[in-house]
Symmetry: C2
Subunit: 223 residues, 2 copies
DNA sequence: CGACTCCTTGACAGCGTTCAACAGTAGTGG
DNA sequence: CCACTACTGTTGAACGCTGTCAAGGAGTCG
């Protein structure tokens, strides 16, 4: 389930905003796809930085309805904004490597007046809020096709506009992120495929090639 | 539109978390219903504390669709979390009195190591995030009746469970907050009225009496 | 009074859900 | 290797919730 392998020893750069905190600050953990990093309402003891893989954060209702708040990809930092307890559950979508750091260590730095660290934390929280507000706009105002387009543009941007977009998440994850059903997600993707805006690579339906990003963006909701 | 009347001189207590910042910190402004406190994308120069009245914050799409992110009532503090620029528009719903303070003054305090102020700011931001995440859950997972029930319970709680709930906002505001149409909001309220869970006082449809809060809560979505 | 806004209600349509069937893939074990 | 199962994703058909359109009542303001 969870394997701590000690402080990181790789030579890769830390691709994030808290890198200044230094290597010794973090230690590495691995999670199998489907296992939880933490659960809603648990005490928030650590912050997480994704090194490889992907994580979904969600809230769930008693009858099983699930709302995914965000997908977290390599480089993303997680749970900085959670205070005493986690307000949602975090689950590895695929096998995932993360660096974790104790929140206490981080706050100790902040208390000592570490200005850059404080700025980084503030930036992270601001970005989280911004994402949530855009998500609210999407859920409240957009129709199904617009939602799927917005999702594709978001992931494409966050993956750095790759030739082939490899989605770690299932259609169900996408549906629960966009507040719709898997069937409607699938139908919307089929519409975009029929319009030659995208295609699936090979027989896998999780590898998407965007043929016309500007045409895709035209289908998006404009602010 | 906007009338500055100088530092506040009333004897009322400051009903909020930033009260320790002191009276001299704030000055009073009045806004007519419908006028804007600030617009999306404007530089964020002040923070706002509502003394009387109500404010809606929203984002708007180019075709007119509007998503209200939150309603702010007396005592609420606004725009602490906005960094360089405001990420949404804030508009007085009715005639509203606010205290405003320069962000620079607040940040100067934080920079000087004012721990209580920093904690208060962190609490405010956490609460804002929590509200946004619950809002996402509502918009993504709930049907129209559940949304209206959630709205009523939220306002009832924030007004301190009054005998008569006087809504400052229109049905359109409620609809744009819940991601539905005015007609459906109206129909949902009629359902609750027909079930004797609530009634309208007098001929005004903005004054609501909750007859059975536990029955109302049963209709709510449970986590 | 007329013009306007706000709200409710009815009729109807349509978007998205629900239900169902089916195909493709992956994993497991004989 | 194949059989079997579980899971994932797509597509079709029908239903129903919610949006759209329309009408009308009630309150407000000049």
């Amino acid at each position: 389930m969870l394997v701590r392998v000690g402080a990181n020893k790789t030579a890769e750069p830390v691709p994030s905003q808290l890198s200044e905190l230094g290597r010794a600050f973090w230690s590495e953990c691995k999670y199998r796809g489907g296992s939880k990093l933490f659960k809603e309402a648990e005490p928030a003891s650590h912050v997480y930085q994704i090194r490889e893989g992907a994580v979904r954060t969600y809230k769930q209702l008693s009858d099983g309805r699930r709302q995914i708040g965000a997908f977290h990809l390599a480089g993303d930092i997680l749970a900085v904004e959670n205070c005493e307890t986690h307000r949602f559950t975090a689950e590895a979508i695929v096998d995932t490597t993360v660096w974790i750091a104790k929140r206490r260590s981080l706050f100790a730095r902040l208390a000592k007046g570490d200005i850059p660290a404080a700025n980084n934390v503030r930036d992270l929280v601001t970005r989280t809020l911004e994402h949530a507000e855009n998500h609210i706009l999407l859920l409240g105002c957009q129709n199904s096709l617009e939602k799927v387009v917005a999702f594709l543009l978001e992931i494409d941007r966050r993956l750095g506009h790759p030739d082939v977009m490899v989605l770690p998440m299932t259609r169900r994850d996408i549906a629960d992120y966009l507040g719709m059903t898997v069937e409607t997600v699938s139908r919307s993707l089929s519409v975009l495929r029929d319009e030659r805006i995208l295609s699936f690579r090979g027989t896998k339906q999780r590898e998407i090639v965007l043929h016309d990003r500007s045409k895709l963006a035209e289908r998006a909701t404009s602010v």
